[in-house]
Point group: C2
Chain length 431, copies 2
């Protein structure tokens, strides 16, 4: 049995989890890989830092000298779990040029630099695997790359962020406002003290870029993704959604349309009957529509040390097995399709609008008039007396071009009968 | 670009779907595989048979002479989609011995002969892929073999049969009896005129054997699976389930316990809150519990020409790519764990009992006494006046050893106060 040596970059949550999993399940991992997989060196910034909970065996592997990993000919696979973009990218490029195989959990890097890295791996005939970069243990990267490889993918919709799904689920089940649900997520360790990366939608945006590139064999990058977070969602919106047969979810959506790919992350009214509407708490799920496989959903924990380590180890085993079988196949450059991204203004969708208006006759007709003038037709409307001299109007539109919607809102907000536009949220069609 | 030639055995629903998909998506399939994949010959029993809907291009490839495929050195991959056991097994063994790679959709064969075939593939350094043999387009085989390879699998529970799930869903949503729901499934083409393979649980039993072997790296075969079908489920049971917070599903369950693996297919009261409880209609789903990845669910269409073809084509692309990259890795014999199957009498579970009894004082106490005498303790009980002098008792037990449950039922049925034991159905614990 051949020995395969790993050089790991980073020993944070994911790195610690990976090392621990390799140790814990060593017996059958080695049998499955038909290789003796050994952690050889771990590159860290500060070798003297106190690392509670890290075993003394692991501490002996630490180094702060990159050459100990890169110039070590015994090391076959570099596992990059340091995170961040610049330094990680430098390391990964160096490793690929030195013909090391790469396993990375780095979504920030992959969402921006996948194209360059794929080319570099192709050139050097090395393998670059990145299952852990999207939704941890949910095996979406491999499923898109391989199992569904013969399918034309029409659409990928996902709940790709557990923090925001926890917050929305809590707002729904307990009727609390965003700020209270966020505080609870912070207290439970599901959200960071600075939660922007999650609640503003940046994190699921990165994951979506990675998935869309695989699914559409096209260069799709983080900057291509139109992103709205969940910070403006009110308890009131959640309650209206429920009344109308929907649940509000932060949906990452990569849809193939005739003239290109639309990549959006934003809150969506999902019909109760849609499988994604039922994904609650910190769970993630990805729903794929394709021409032959039909509708498929993958569901699981999208974050956490153990779940992320599971994906890293799966990739390590795959490479180790191939090295031992002498059957390493380089990735192949798969982003061969012409790059066509649809701007969000051209996207088409139904909308939910909630606005506070003067409670006087003719108000609804004026608003409907403005909408109609912009080709926005109304699917359903609810008007309720709010308080004082105000009423609340909730409108769901038919499918409209986003730009028309935005233009009509510009006009509506200037009407003297309109006090405030409370919320504008996209609505997913019934199946 | 190298040309990879396919010899296909069988041109039924799945074979036709596979050929059509290869034609329809040829452009990007070839780009992804980096190979020119060509259907070369199709072996059928009767070359003169009328085949409506099959293109003339395909008809030209038909042969009834096996040597046209097996002895053709240009053919790299044999796709076995004829189904059945004996003849298919003979063909697949011959092909492996001739160093052809195999893609099969044959669950009957894999559920019984996987062990022999894995050894034969290993010996001949050929690849044997069988994603399509379990739940069509749901990529469960690859996910278990690769993505979760580093995990200790605790349990796999699945709704592995769309026909029975359609019937149970219809009984639930419309309150109809089994026979009416079955007739509807036959009318819609979801069930065959002889529906035994589905409704008796044989089909999901085969799929479970295949999955358990992968998950536990152990020889598990169809005969090891304890199987009960859905034919005895009454509308009444479905209605009690709903009242008590459950939904009845036909669950295939492979659970690792200290002393071995329990492999069961039977109807189960699933708690409403369990993701599998919400899988409706013809959809399938597989729920996997493992040490690091946690809980993962895969959901999709588990049958049909297109969905099955999707899996076949995924496997073909994988092999074609590896041939072209000169990176064929033989399967490796993975059933290395000692074979330990737990008999169903030793299995432990909660039970739902529905029985009709004489409506007289002391009846419940007598029944509870018998149960208690066999170490079966009661979790909850409902007693309702039925009609005439009969009452209906519904009991949910705590977790008990199956043999104790069966022994107590033997005794209960002989009590003169008991008119009939209506149903005995396993109950899944709340999470």
């Amino acid at each position: 049995m051949k020995t395969i040596r790993i050089g790991m970059i980073g020993l944070g949550t994911v790195g610690g989890g990976t090392a621990a999993m390799l140790e814990k399940n060593r017996g059958f991992i080695n049998k499955t890989a038909n290789a003796n997989i050994v952690m050889d060196k771990i590159l860290v910034r500060d070798i003297t830092k106190d690392r509670p909970g890290v075993s003394s065996d692991l501490l002996e592997l630490l180094t702060d000298n990159p050459d100990d990993i890169f110039l070590n000919d015994d090391i076959d696979i570099i596992v990059e779990v340091m995170g961040g973009t610049e330094m990680a990218l430098t390391y990964v490029k160096r490793a690929l040029n030195l013909k090391k195989h790469i396993v990375t959990a780095n979504k920030d890097m992959m969402a921006v630099h996948a194209n360059d890295l794929f080319k570099l791996a192709e050139k050097n005939k090395t393998v670059l695997l990145y299952e852990a970069s999207v939704c941890a243990a949910i095996p979406i990267v491999e499923v898109l790359k391989k199992s569904l490889a013969g399918n034309k993918i029409h659409r990928i919709m996902g709940i790709l962020n557990g923090t925001t799904n926890y917050i929305l689920t809590k707002m729904d089940s307990e009727g609390v406002e965003y700020s209270e649900a966020l505080q609870d997520a912070i207290n439970k360790g599901y959200a960071e003290r600075n939660p922007d990366s999650d609640v503003m939608g940046y994190d699921p945006g990165r994951k979506l870029a990675i998935l869309a590139a695989i699914a559409y064999n096209m260069r799709v990058e983080y900057d291509d993704v139109y992103i709205e977070g969940i910070t403006k969602i009110k308890a009131e919106d959640i309650s209206y959604a429920s009344e109308l047969g929907y649940r509000i979810k932060l949906i990452a959506d990569a849809k193939y349309i005739d003239n290109g790919v639309k990549v959006h992350v934003n809150p969506v009214f999902m019909p109760d009957t849609h499988p994604l509407a039922r994904v609650d708490g910190v769970y993630n799920a990805i729903y794929i529509e394709s021409d032959m496989a039909g509708k498929i959903m993958l569901y699981g924990r999208g974050a956490g040390a153990d779940a992320t380590a599971s994906a890293v180890i799966g990739d390590i085993i795959a490479i180790a097995k191939d090295i031992c079988e002498n059957s390493i196949a380089n990735n192949g450059y798969t982003l061969f399709n012409e790059r066509k991204i649809i701007g969000h203004k051209d996207a088409v969708s139904q909308f939910y609008l909630r606005m506070s208006v003067k409670d006087s006759p003719g108000v609804l007709s004026k608003i409907a008039g403005v909408l109609g003038g912009h080709n926005v037709s109304i699917y359903s409307v609810v008007q309720e007396k709010a308080h004082d001299e105000l009423a609340e109007i909730v409108i769901i539109t038919h499918s409209v071009v986003e730009e028309n919607m935005q233009n009509s809102l510009q006009e509506i907000i200037n009407l003297d009968i309109v006090n405030e536009i409370g919320s504008v949220i996209r609505v997913e069609d019934e199946e």
